[in-house]
């Protein structure tokens, strides 16, 4: 492999700076290869995280259902893994042949880390094979714990591989400031290049994002199998699997904005102009589209839960609350999607009567948006809570007091969010930014304490009836498909934002893109590219999962025992 790298670099040294790709052009070819590789990679990195967690619940909770669920997750992983490697190879060959000088520059700095990457990828592959094919062999006692450790090892390899790849792309965004166009790449110390401003924020953001994405794709797979199921047992199993996928995706989604906030702050600290380009420059409309997509995610995720309450005896008592939750979500989405600082021409400014709309301008600022999104997170958490306690009646003597304390915590968290949201209009920007920490802190504290109280209150709770897994109307399953498509599209959009803020630079202010494709395209063009990538990815995923279904029957368990809620 090392020889191969050297050959590629030697070829790059002797070739011109660029070559073009027939018909679609080099930028589009690279865009498609990189994006689809990244989507598969996100899936194969996200799924092992919750496969290992599910296996642990199976082992330590002595619940075979979770163990089988973990195995089914891993089967999906096995099939998708080779697709990840194939698209990775396509990406590398396209990059080295279409952008040889840039490739030579990157290999001159990161060559050794590329060799390490390949070695770990090799270990990761064989750990995965051992993990999956050893599932039934190492099933009991210490062997089972050893098998579980293999799953942990798989995650460690995967995380290292991702961290290495992240160092390459973050170097392109935020190269250390002492590196100039005149700096010879061979003189740059590799650790200096790896430890750039955005490396760790991207690592963390992707780690969480992969869990969200993996959960969403698993949810879509389960919903497909649910719709195609021929027996009630099969339907019940895939209904439960879809619920678990949605739970994982939505839970991780709640944390994702905090990692995104850190990444954004690091970009601003590295270069104000880059941050401004991203948030208020030619990309400003992108965030309105992002707000719309996240609103779809919140609405579809909550809708799935509300429909799901139809199969839970005792959930009727919570139905009246859903219309109020819907109202908060819709109003929150409208505020979050309100544009504020936009590039506008003189005609548009005249039509608005100033640089901001006289009415909507007040809703487009950070104070209003932070308030809206925090209230949306609180509402979604409340939906989960109602779902969770729908079919139980608490029997602990302090149940009423506990519920009142929980309600009080919701009220206090919402009041803190609203207070700092309103106060933000009357203080300096630097103070206002600090208020978002209090708002987020109040929401997180509410989520943690209310959950702890709920778990304690559920001890020995009386059941109002078993959850009737499988008794879900088909429309709920289409909500899971919308979630998967939206998560995938959002990933493509955020990838465009991250990569696009480099504008006409391969490496920001160090190595310029001088191809005819150097201009960063407008959002409409990017949307066509993103949709194309999503369509190719989902088609391949559909085909791969169908192949997997041919090779092996599903691992569902006949529903002689009630499937538990997640976490119970």
């Amino acid at each position: 492999m090392a020889d191969g790298m050297l050959l590629l670099q030697a070829a790059a040294d002797t070739a011109g700076a660029y070559r073009d790709f027939p018909l679609i052009g080099s930028r589009q070819a690279i865009w498609i290869a990189a994006e689809i590789h990244l989507m598969f990679a996100a899936f194969v990195l996200g799924v092992p995280i919750f496969a290992v967690v599910a296996e642990a619940i199976g082992i330590f909770g002595k619940d075979q259902r979770y163990d089988r669920l973990a195995k089914e997750f891993t089967r999906l992983l096995l099939i998708a893994y080779s697709a990840t490697a194939i698209w990775g190879a396509v990406f590398v060959f396209l990059l080295s042949t279409l952008y040889p000088r840039f490739w030579a520059y990157m290999t001159a700095i990161f060559g050794p880390s590329m060799w390490v990457y390949v070695s770990i990828f090799f270990f990761e592959s064989f750990t995965l094979y051992l993990y999956y094919y050893g599932w039934d062999r190492w099933k009991y006692g210490r062997a089972k714990i050893g098998h579980w450790c293999l799953g942990i090892l798989l995650n460690i390899w995967g995380t290292i591989v991702m961290f290495i790849a992240d160092s390459w792309l973050t170097y392109m965004m935020t190269p250390p400031r002492d590196i100039t166009p005149e700096t010879s790449p061979t003189s740059i110390k590799i650790w200096h290049a790896i430890l750039n401003h955005t490396w760790m924020p991207i690592n963390i953001h992707r780690l969480i994002g992969n869990i969200v994405f993996g959960g969403a794709i698993v949810g879509a797979y389960a919903s497909y199998r649910f719709l195609a199921a021929r027996t009630d047992d099969e339907r019940a199993h895939y209904d439960w699997m879809g619920y678990v996928g949605n739970f994982i995706a939505m839970s991780a989604l709640i944390v994702l904005p905090f990692a995104g906030y850190w990444l954004g702050r690091e970009i601003y600290q590295y270069d104000q102009s880059m941050g401004i380009t991203m948030m208020g420059g030619f990309m400003s409309w992108l965030w309105v589209i992002q707000a719309f997509l996240i609103a779809v995610l919140f609405l579809a995720g909550n809708y799935y839960l509300w429909v799901g309450m139809g199969r839970i005896p005792g959930a009727e008592r919570y139905r009246p609350y859903t219309k109020w939750l819907l109202l908060v979500l819709v109003l929150g989405a409208l505020v979050w999607g309100t544009p504020h600082t936009m590039i506008a021409d003189s005609r548009e400014l005249a039509a608005m009567g100033g640089s901001h709309h006289p009415l909507l301008g007040a809703l487009g600022v950070m104070s209003a948006k932070n308030t809206a999104v925090n209230l949306m997170i609180l509402s979604t958490f409340l939906s989960f809570l109602l779902y969770r306690r729908a079919n139980i009646r608490q029997v602990v003597p302090w149940a009423k007091t506990g519920t009142r304390i929980q309600a009080g915590m919701f009220v206090i968290a919402a009041a803190i969010v609203l207070f700092f949201g309103i106060r933000g209009y009357f203080v300096e920007a630097i103070v206002r930014i600090g208020y978002s920490v209090y708002q987020v802190g109040a929401v997180l504290a509410c989520i943690i304490f209310v959950t702890v109280i709920d778990v304690l209150m559920a001890r020995g709770a009386q059941s109002l009836g078993a959850i009737q897994w499988g008794k879900m109307p088909p429309r709920s399953q289409y909500a899971l498909f919308i979630l998967a498509v939206t998560f995938t599209w959002l990933m493509g959009l955020m990838g465009f934002a991250r990569s696009g803020i480099r504008q006409h630079w391969h490496v920001w202010q160090v190595m310029q893109d001088t191809t005819p494709y150097a201009a960063t395209p407008a959002l409409g063009y990017a949307a066509i590219m993103i949709s194309t990538c999503v369509l190719i990815f989902l088609s391949l995923v559909g085909f791969i999962f169908w192949l997997g279904g041919l090779a092996e029957k599903s691992t569902f368990v006949p529903s002689t025992v009630e499937a538990p809620h997640v976490g119970q």
Binding site: T277, G280, I343, I482, Q503, L523
Partner: protein, 264 residues
């Protein structure tokens, strides 16, 4: 079975079509590449203004902040009753004409931060070529003032490059002068630091810096400003440019260090 598959396909394609349609219905803004300019010595003011206009509204990225009235001053419209930038630029700094003020504001933007705004503007010398900078100056002058940029302002060595040459070793700041105060003013130090009653208050006061720092530490602070940040100024870490090692000549650096070290 097939009915289910068709419905799923419909949901997927419908969702993708909706997102693509919305993204195509909003205003389409493309980030252009700064085009190389080939302006000769006999370039006309009209050609300079036209090139500057394109840069200002396109690849220069100026409209992201200027014109919105929140992040940076309005340049093409009235700002606090003083008229557009061409009308007010000559009055901003005593003894500095409009052309010199605008050029310095672009290449050393922290030298003259307008009160009420943050020092967020990047050094455009890192992003644009000297020809492009002068085209921008001409365009800004044309908004309410008189264009006096000519071909003779543009250095002959700046041909068609789209990037700056500011990061390469040069003849030094302020024409290579070794007079410490000329260097301090030329490098824009007084935009943030006060010395002898002159200058801003964003960075530490340099009037008695020699009593606090040795010559070696002063040199280090100029070349690598973030290595040690003065107490009380931690939140401004990263603001001071790190390119003085490339911009100052060795003689200028030493003159500056000895001058500051003697201020006890």
């Amino acid at each position: 079975m097939w009915a289910n598959n068709l419905r799923i396909l419909g949901v997927v394609l419908g969702t993708l079509a909706l997102y693509t349609l919305i993204a195509n219905k909003i205003p389409q803004v493309q980030s252009e590449v700064p085009h190389a300019l080939t302006l000769g010595a006999n370039v006309t003011p009209e050609q300079l203004v036209s090139a500057g206009d394109q840069l200002y509204h396109g690849a220069g990225g100026c409209t992201a902040c200027h014109g919105l009235g929140t992040r940076a001053p309005n340049l093409l419209t009235d700002e606090k009753g003083q008229g557009p930038i061409g009308a007010r630029c000559g009055k901003r700094e005593p003894g500095k004409d409009c052309k010199a003020y605008l050029y310095e504001s672009l290449t050393n933007p922290r030298a003259y931060v307008v009160p009420g705004y943050e020092p967020i503007m990047p050094d455009m010398g890192r992003i644009l070529s000297p020809q492009q900078i002068w085209a921008l100056v001409a365009f800004l002058e044309s908004n309410g003032g008189t264009v006096d940029v000519t071909g003779s302002d543009i250095p002959p060595s700046s041909t068609t490059s789209t990037t700056s040459t500011s990061s390469t070793p040069s003849a030094g700041i302020a024409g290579g002068s070794t007079d410490p105060m000329t260097i301090i003013r030329g490098a824009g130090c007084t935009g943030c630091h006060k010395i002898g009653g002159e200058g801003g208050a964003i960075g530490p006061d340099l009037t008695h810096v020699g009593s606090r720092l040795s010559a070696n530490l002063i040199r280090e602070s100029i070349l690598n400003p973030d290595a040690k940040v003065a107490k009380g100024y931690e939140k401004f870490k990263g603001i001071m440019p790190k390119m003085f090692g490339n911009q100052l000549t060795a003689a200028q650096l030493e003159a500056l260090v000895q001058f500051l070290a003697s201020h006890k």
